[in-house]
């Protein structure tokens, strides 16, 4: 670096004295929704204003020495300078207060200044000033983008993946400062969470697509087969119609479960909390499912204290129990039993659905409540499962400030336990 007081050096000198002194509070109000565009505009404004301020200052000095009769004009200039200073302070505070990281480089791409957020985003304590991008973030794409901005005036956005110990994905918007101001500015945004959600969404869409295509293929395939001649096949045609009917039902169930989940996700299912007698809800659910259980020679027993009262939405809780009972019946061999057990534990009410079914291997338990996770895909489909039931259960229970747990042993059975706040306890808290 030379000692010559270039305009750019003046700018950073000014910013350097300003930035640390500025409060972050103003920034939040000014930025509201922080968009890269706004941030870039801010950077450019700050830099230009600081330049203007420096220039105005010099000009003012010359004028004062040249003519005392121009006092009035000089006062005007001083006012303008104060306004410009205030604006630099405000914009500086905005940059210092923003969530995004930011650096400004010289024409060679060497970092001259940065805000505090950048350290957090890069997860480093090291000195950033005086280094080139490649030294600070070992990714050539970012380095190249900065050099392109400095040398060719090219604006670009690059995605940078950071390695362990804390893997992150950053989106970096790199802009040239402009012809009068050699160098570049870059705004860093941590998009790790956004990327993770994108992946979850993609997996979900792929799963939905798979789950929908299977019944559709069966329906289309059998309809096509019937239409092109099998209708006259007296032996097989009725079976094909039966399959079309069954697969249509499965498609219908899948669509309703998907809609239910989507309503829950969007918070479009309002819950009405109140005192709920667990024995009553359990009786309603078991009565509703009794015919199916009887068809499989299964008995449903209840052991719930008559006065056990939880704070819950009765309809949502009934749906939870129906889903759990439905599963218990699907996976319990004929002649087995399903039991509904209620008990008070501290200030919580617990309601368990215990079956003498096949049981679940412990390796599946952590993922059991995930959407479309199936322990045995073949058996689940045979039993008519959509792969979404337990996910809906968890959603509903959590929406009621509760939790759902599972314990299981292969060949012995499974117990799903819904934990809800006791009505009395929740009233006391409220």
């Amino acid at each position: 670096m030379t000692d010559r007081p270039e305009p750019r050096r003046l700018v950073f000198l000014t910013l350097g004295t300003l930035l640390p002194a500025l409060g972050a509070g103003i920034a939040a109000g000014l930025l509201g929704g922080t968009q890269t565009g706004i941030v870039v505009a801010l950077i450019t404004s700050v830099v230009s204003l600081a330049c203007a301020l420096a220039t105005e200052s010099d000009v003012g000095r010359e004028r004062r020495s040249a003519s005392r009769s121009a006092d009035a004009r000089a006062r005007g200039v001083a006012e303008e300078r104060d306004e410009a200073l205030l604006e630099v302070q405000t914009l500086g505070a905005a940059i210092e207060g923003m969530e995004e990281g930011m650096w400004i480089t010289d024409a060679q791409g060497v970092v001259l200044r940065h805000n505090e957020a950048l350290r957090t985003i890069l997860g480093t304590e090291q000195e950033l000033v005086g280094h080139r991008p490649l030294f600070l973030v070992r990714r050539t794409e970012l380095h190249d983008a900065v050099l392109r901005a400095c040398r060719e005036g090219v604006t670009s956005t690059v995605e940078v993946s950071m390695d362990a110990p804390r893997p992150k994905t950053l989106e970096v918007h790199v802009v040239p400062l402009g012809r009068a101001l050699p160098g570049s500015a870059a705004v860093f945004r941590d998009i790790t969470e956004r990327k993770r959600l994108e992946r979850v969404r993609q997996d979900f869409v792929a799963n939905v697509s798979h789950e929908l295509r299977t019944p559709i293929t069966a329906i289309l395939g059998y309809a096509e087969t019937l239409r092109t001649g099998a209708l006259a096949d007296a032996k097989h045609a009725p079976q094909m119609v039966e399959i079309i009917h069954r697969q249509s039902e499965r498609l219908g169930e899948l669509v309703s479960d998907l809609l239910e989940l989507s309503r829950l996700d969007a918070g479009e299912r309002p819950l009405a909390f109140g005192p709920v007698l667990l024995e009553m809800v359990a009786r309603q659910a078991s009565d509703a499912i009794e015919p199916r259980a009887a068809g499989r020679q299964l008995t449903i027993k209840r052991r719930i204290p008559a006065d056990l009262t939880a704070r819950a939405d009765p309809k949502a809780l009934e749906q939870v129990l129906l889903n759990l009972l439905d599963n218990a019946i699907k996976y319990t061999p004929e002649g087995g039993s399903v039991e509904l057990i209620g008990e008070r534990v501290g200030d919580q009410a617990q309601l368990s659905v215990r079956d003498t079914g096949l049981g679940i291997d412990s390796r599946h338990l952590p993922r059991l409540f995930e959407r479309f996770y199936r322990v045995d895909r073949g058996r689940s489909r045979e039993a008519g499962g959509t792969g979404l039931g337990l996910s809906i259960v968890r959603h509903l229970v959590q929406a009621m400030d509760g939790d759902v747990r599972v314990a299981s042993q292969l060949g012995v059975g499974s117990t799903f336990t819904v934990v809800l706040p006791l009505w009395g306890a929740s009233v006391a808290e409220g």
Partner: protein
């Protein structure tokens, strides 16, 4: 009667395929898991395997790899059936040596036509004027045999067809699109890397003699003309 092994975990879909392929004149067998597929294939000796890519136990791509690595099965044609319309799965399948693919939901009539087309292409492999040769490579369509310097080289059906196509057109550049169309019988909408992957594998199997297959940068491949070779 050509034999088809159906690997599909959905009972309704397996029955659908069985009914339609039997009606089209094929002898079929069904298996519901990937683990059982290889054993069934060895016992049943099918001409073609209709393979669902989403199986409950093993990924279909793994079953495909096992089939293509097995000396007794590697010439069996494989048509992938997948509910995933995503290109990545199809590309992976084709690179592993699948002959064609069908995406769910499919038309059963179209599926039957595709199966027939694949079997026809396989049959045409053994047709031809006689033994084809270039350098130390000899390809005998009738015996379905390839030798390099007298030693037999084990090729999959696709690799065999790829080599035969190149041997039939010495000195002429074959674009990737042409090879995809003539060897795989599919439109070139998918990818052209599939061709590159198979050429690479073919060259590896042919050893030094594989250098006869030249890359024409940015265009495709050609078999070096005999005069240049000499």
């Amino acid at each position: 009667m050509p034999r088809i092994l159906i690997v599909e975990d959905e009972q309704d879909l397996a029955n659908l395929l069985t009914y339609n392929l039997s009606a089209a004149g094929f002898e079929t067998e069904t298996t519901h898991s990937g683990a059982a597929a290889l054993g069934r294939a060895k016992a049943f000796k099918p001409d073609l395997v209709l393979l669902d890519l989403m199986l409950p136990d093993l990924p279909g791509s793994e079953v495909l790899r096992l089939i293509k690595e097995d000396p007794n099965l590697r010439r069996t044609a494989v048509v992938m059936v997948t509910a995933k319309g995503q290109e990545a799965d199809r590309v992976q399948g084709l690179e592993l040596g699948a002959d064609d693919y069908v995406v769910k939901p499919f038309s059963v009539r179209e599926l039957a036509l595709r199966v027939k087309a694949v079997l026809r292409r396989m049959a045409s492999d053994s047709e031809g004027t006689g033994v084809l040769a270039a350098g130390t490579i000899r390809l005998d369509p009738a015996r379905h045999e390839v030798t390099v310097g007298g030693n037999e080289v084990a090729l999959t059906a696709l690799e065999f067809r790829l080599l035969k196509t190149l041997l039939e057109r010495p000195g002429r550049v074959q674009t990737r699109e042409v090879l995809l169309s003539d060897v795989w019988g599919i439109e070139a909408e998918i990818t052209t890397r599939t061709v590159d992957t198979h050429i690479k594998r073919l060259r590896e199997k042919l050893g030094a003699a594989g250098d006869i297959i030249e890359t024409v940068r940015g265009v495709g491949y050609k078999l070096a003309s005999p005069d240049r070779d000499a």
